[in-house]
């Protein structure tokens, strides 16, 4: 009886909860169509326009509002995210592979790796810059100090994803390959890797997005040249304009494009297998 009351009540609650998560976005989306360049980042909408989107791409006549310095920052962020993705996925796959065998100190190593995602970015960022600045005496750059700090953060995620995948992996196909005279390295390339590829893809996706959006570590460790989150952070202190909202909408769309590519890649392999199976059934 109670469950009959409870379920609809909770359904309504879940709806409100989703609204709570999305509310700010809706507002942000609406305000990105504010009139420009006089319209501010608040209600009411003076007049609907796409001015701020044009402004973002430098298609508007020059005004007192400077365009967002996102061009180079975007390239840097993409490069950094790519470097981080490759490094942390390789490290993650290797470490998870090692964890398939029992070894002494496994618990310690596990927590050492997981620590990377547990320690707040402020601390990793501060520590890395202290080390670079005061001990090694090198300049900080997004491609050096920020990069290693990013990998410290994303490697644990890649590791955990791969650990979950490999836990469910049946090792007898690898043994079968060895018994056919195929070396462990070739076996990994030809058997293990193709079979765990969906997991690898997830690990890569995780690492890429985490790094692309990473802010606290980058703030301390990246030095002079800004990445995208730093460029956005820069606008916090000054007056904000609806161009940052338009930019938010754009990055969200970009994220969805990335997510779609991932989804398509994942679905393709599954669908191919199903298609062949169906043809077999017909014939």
């Amino acid at each position: 009886m109670e469950s009959k009351v409870l379920k609809p009540v909770l359904a309504v609650y879940a709806g409100l909860f989703i609204l709570f998560l999305y509310g700010p976005f809706i507002v942000l989306g609406i305000l990105s169509f504010q009139q420009g360049p006089e319209g501010g980042p608040q209600f009411p909408i003076i007049e609907w326009s796409t001015y701020w989107y044009k402004h973002l791409f430098g298609l508007t006549p020059p005004s007192r509002i400077a365009p967002l310095p996102v061009g180079e920052a975007l390239v840097r962020s993409l490069t950094l995210a790519f470097m981080t993705m490759v490094t942390s996925t390789v490290l993650g796959v290797m470490a998870a592979q090692a964890f398939r065998k029992r070894f002494r100190g496994a618990g310690l190593v596990f927590y050492l790796i997981v620590l990377g995602m547990m320690v707040p970015g402020v601390l990793t960022g501060l520590g890395t810059s202290l080390l670079a600045n005061n001990v090694v005496g090198i300049e900080r750059h997004w491609w050096s100090t920020a990069f290693v700090a990013h990998v410290v953060y994303t490697f644990p995620f890649a590791f955990l994803v791969m650990l979950a995948i490999l836990n469910r992996f049946d090792g007898s196909v690898e043994e079968a390959s060895w018994s056919l005279g195929v070396s462990p390295i070739t076996t990994f390339r030809k058997v293990t890797f193709p079979l765990i590829f969906p997991g690898v893809l997830s690990a890569m996706l995780f690492a890429f997005t985490l790094s692309f959006d990473e802010f606290p570590r980058t703030l301390f460790a990246s030095g002079r040249d800004q990445t995208l989150p730093l460029a956005i952070y820069g606008t916090f202190s000054v007056e904000i304009h609806p161009n940052i909202f338009a930019f938010g909408v754009m990055t969200t769309l970009f994220s969805f494009a990335l997510l779609s590519v991932y989804g398509i890649l994942m679905a393709l392999s599954v669908r191919r297998a199903k298609k062949i199976a169906m043809q077999e059934d017909i014939s």
Partner: protein, 361 residues
Amino acid sequence: MKQSDPIFRLDGVTRRYGNLTALDSIDFTAEDNSYISLLGPSGSGKTSLLRVIAGFEAPDSGRIWFQGRDITDLPAHERGIGFVFQNFALFPHLTIFENVAFGLRNGAINPPEAEIIQRVKETIEMVGLTGLEDRNPDQISGGQKQRVALARSLVMQPKLVLLDEPLGALDANLRERMQTELRTIRERLDVTFLHVTGSETEALAMGDKVAVLDSGRIVQFGTPEEIYDAPIISDVALFLNRFNLFDGTLKDGVFHGAFGSVPVSGARANETDVYAIRYDRTQIFDTGSTDLPGPALPARYLASEYLGSSIVFLFETEDNKTVEVDHHLSLGEPRDLEVGRDYVLSWSPEQAIVFGKELAR
């Protein structure tokens, strides 16, 4: 290599998992070009033995010799020993053709493409899978998977193939057919099969030689006939599932059991005193018969089971022990029995096998 040369030899091979000893100092020599069944109950260490020979696991001590070479420290992929898994372990992302071609393509030998295609085709034909080359492993039946797993190993032309309960995942009909096929295929190639199984029927039917494994030790090794006719200890007799076993005491050349006291001519060393008579050597007589060939065991008839070529009659003795009598139909029609009636079971004493703590001579 000559026919009788050993293909592989185990020299005091021991494997432990923590406190558990899976293989207890095994010495074993297998002849080339033969079919060897390795029979053992679950937990006897038979799979461990295969994995150690294959090189998936290293023994804690002892040496392994293959084709006259010490391969103990050689990794699995350099041993040239085939392995067929119970769960087949086909590569799910490759077609049947590519599964079979896998070792040729990715191994150290790397023959030319034309030869690969030639050899794969021949092997696929040999196991009767022609026409299925382009399918994926999830699109074929269990029996077909088994053949792919076999073909994948055989295409590498190994001298030794280890089969880990290869028929365990198949249903009964298919299992019998595959038994015959495995034997035929092996005979056509110059290769030794070491076939691990928990089924005594399978082991006796398939092996040129049968090794019986118990608690990490090979307790008996011989032809199926030797094992069948002369199990070396009572545990083997029990495991073969072909003997009525009676507990009792053996003293001064006389066995005292539920069927009275019988003089015995000889006994095999064993941990306990056991009297064994094969199901098909046990005969049925009416109560009060005087022309018994040997001891008399009163028993009540319970039921019969028709097995195609023979009928099994089940009896219960006074101390609630079930006794089986196997009547082969080639020996003539079985007699009619009345359920619930008492009969007398008997046998020729010289056909019994007696195991004893003391060796009566």
